[in-house]
């Protein structure tokens, strides 16, 4: 299997889908002529050359407008893949996503079909500060009618993107800034990967750890180190999609290990670790040997300077501490709460 970056894998999947189905088109800011031919993170590289400006649309800075045009185009038969440059700008497209795309099929009683993909990227990437580092995926779990995808490896990114494009529902496809230029093996033939199938990335018997994207990578590293150093054997689960969510795989694992850590980069308070943690605490009530631990961003905006960013965004040691805590049956908290909380 060839090695390629997450960005290149996405690019390949996108190109293949555009070749397969003439109804697929892409639009977004600077996805065509920017940089080395497409996209701040090169995901759309070369597409303008290959498919022309009719199917690769560089848009004005009008996020609400072009996402809502994506909804309209999807409604009448196209399959738009719309890029929002940073997920922080999802604040500008909540109406077309939440009140329109996610609701149309339901409120029109099944008449509508909205095969729209909105791609963007989550997370902090070193000094991008409060308005370019956020992780909003939880908001969309709270919105029935839209699916939420959070791929970590290049192979998953490519396979899940294909599924997203072929899905007849609105899909929010959330990449991560720090993953774009990481490499991994990608099959020669990229097959669509079904939504709602979690992967056990590492088997283990002591602790179940659920994580996505950068936290997943740190989790795998933490698991290896803790096994080596302290003999704690961690099972690491990657949900891959948050809606639909493969809770079964998580529950099965927790019932085996009796302990659970959930790690995400989104802010802790009302983040999806609470949702999964709550369901696990219910559905594995009699199996839990220790309180569940969550390792998440502190309840703070993301600050600019390195040392402060590291207080907010969890790092390897935070995850190791979280694992140790659950292993010892202790509670875990990433530090003081913000004033007035």
């Amino acid at each position: 299997m060839p090695e390629m970056t997450y960005s290149a894998a996405l690019n390949k999947a996108l190109r293949e889908e555009m070749n397969r189905d003439p109804n697929v088109f892409v639009m977004g800011e600077d996805i065509g002529v920017w940089g080395d031919g497409g996209g701040v993170f090169s995901v759309t590289k070369g597409l303008l050359d290959e498919f022309g400006s009719q199917r690769v649309l560089d848009t004005p800075i009008s996020e609400e407008g072009f996402v809502s045009m994506g909804v309209g185009a999807a409604l009448v038969g196209s399959r738009p893949v719309v890029e929002v440059m940073y997920s922080d700008f999802l604040t500008l497209v909540m109406d077309p996503l939440v009140n329109q795309a996610a609701k149309m099929r339901y409120m029109f009683g099944g008449q509508a079909k909205v095969p729209l993909v909105v791609r963007t990227n989550l997370g902090a990437a070193g000094g991008k500060a409060a308005q370019h580092s956020q992780s909003f995926e939880t908001w969309f779990m709270h919105v029935p009618g839209i699916k939420v995808v959070v791929p970590t490896t290049p192979a998953d990114a490519a396979g899940l993107l294909k599924t997203a494009i072929r899905d007849d529902n609105p899909v929010l496809f959330l990449e991560h800034k720090l993953l774009y230029f990481m490499k991994g093996e990608v099959p020669d033939v990229i097959e669509p990967i079904p939504f709602g199938q979690a992967l056990i990335r590492r088997e283990g018997k002591d602790v179940t750890l659920v994580a996505t994207q950068v936290m997943l990578q740190l989790a795998l590293k933490a698991a290896d180190q803790l096994f080596e150093e302290e003999g704690i054997d961690v099972e690491v689960i990657d949900p891959r999609t948050l809606v639909p969510l493969d809770l079964e795989t998580i529950l099965t694992s927790v019932k085996k290990t009796g302990r659970c850590v959930i790690a995400h980069e989104a802010v802790e308070r009302a983040g999806w670790a609470a949702e999964i943690g709550f369901e696990v605490s219910l559905q594995a009530f009699d199996f839990l040997d220790a309180p569940i631990v969550r390792v998440c961003s502190a309840n703070l905006p993301v600050p600019y300077t390195k040392d402060l960013e590291a207080v907010v965004i969890p790092g390897l040691n935070d995850i190791k501490d979280g694992i140790r805590a659950v292993y010892q049956g202790k509670q875990y908290s990433r530090g003081g709460r913000a004033i007035n909380e």
Binding site: S62, G65, F66, G72, F108, Q111, N169
Partner: protein, 328 residues
Amino acid sequence: MTVDKDSKQNKRDNELEVRLLRTMMLARAFDSNLPTLYNKGLIQGSSHSAIGQEAVAAGACLALRTEDYVTSTHRGHGHTIAKGADLTRMTAELLGRETGFCRGKGGSMHIADFSVNMLGANGIVGGNFGIAAGAALSLKMRGSDAVVLSFFGEGALNQGAFLETANMAKIWNLPVIFLCENNHFAMSARPEDMLAVGAIVDRAGAVGIPGVEIDGMDVGAVFDAVQAAAARARAGEGPQFIAAECYRFEGHFSGDTMAYRDSAEADLWLERDPIPRQIQRLVSAGVLTTEDVTSMESDVKAMVDEALVQASAAPFPNPQQAWEDVYA
């Protein structure tokens, strides 16, 4: 600004003139029933009467082809009827029945009939600009010669979504017609207080879209303007803008006492009621007799009544259906 007469392809014939009248009458009869349905507790939530604005709905939709799309607003009954939707299924939707267009899930505010390319009312003011422009983008990409018409009120012109989508419609030369129904109210807000431009069409000028201002109380004028705009859009001339001057005869929704309304102003507009006006025109031209008119009136009333009878006989959805239609 006036309609470019040269771009008209067909002259309105008598049959069409009568259809325009009939469509207006039907829309009027439908909305006239709303207070009763409300008082009887048959409708929930809000529904918005378009009485007084029938010329815009009828003139516009009859100037379009079946394969053309429309998007609508919270005040969408007239648009839906004029685009050709079945009255019984519409009524059933307002009554929340299983046989309604939206299987009882939408109600008045989300009335939609995809079978006649009516892409839905919208509870979000301005929410349909992008949907219309996006549909037009898709049509253009796929080489269709259908066009999209976006109905909206003058109040919606202050949503940023208008600027964003009209701008993209222009730079990409999309076949979309922005049809502003200036009914002179956005709930209690008056356009002269809220829109920082003298003429509604100036706002389209901001994105370089040609605009015409027409008498929205004259169904023929609306038809001509939309026909011309659609022809231009179909011919690849890109987005079009029409401001139709009309008036909201009733309250914003049932229960609105309209304490904010100036009755002298209202009286002037009430005199311009598009339906008597069209009747007058056709009767004096000898196309219709007053008997014809009376029988048309009882006809449409009977249709609305019959739709209500049929819709009322339909079942409410089974609670289990709440779980359907979330995902395709």
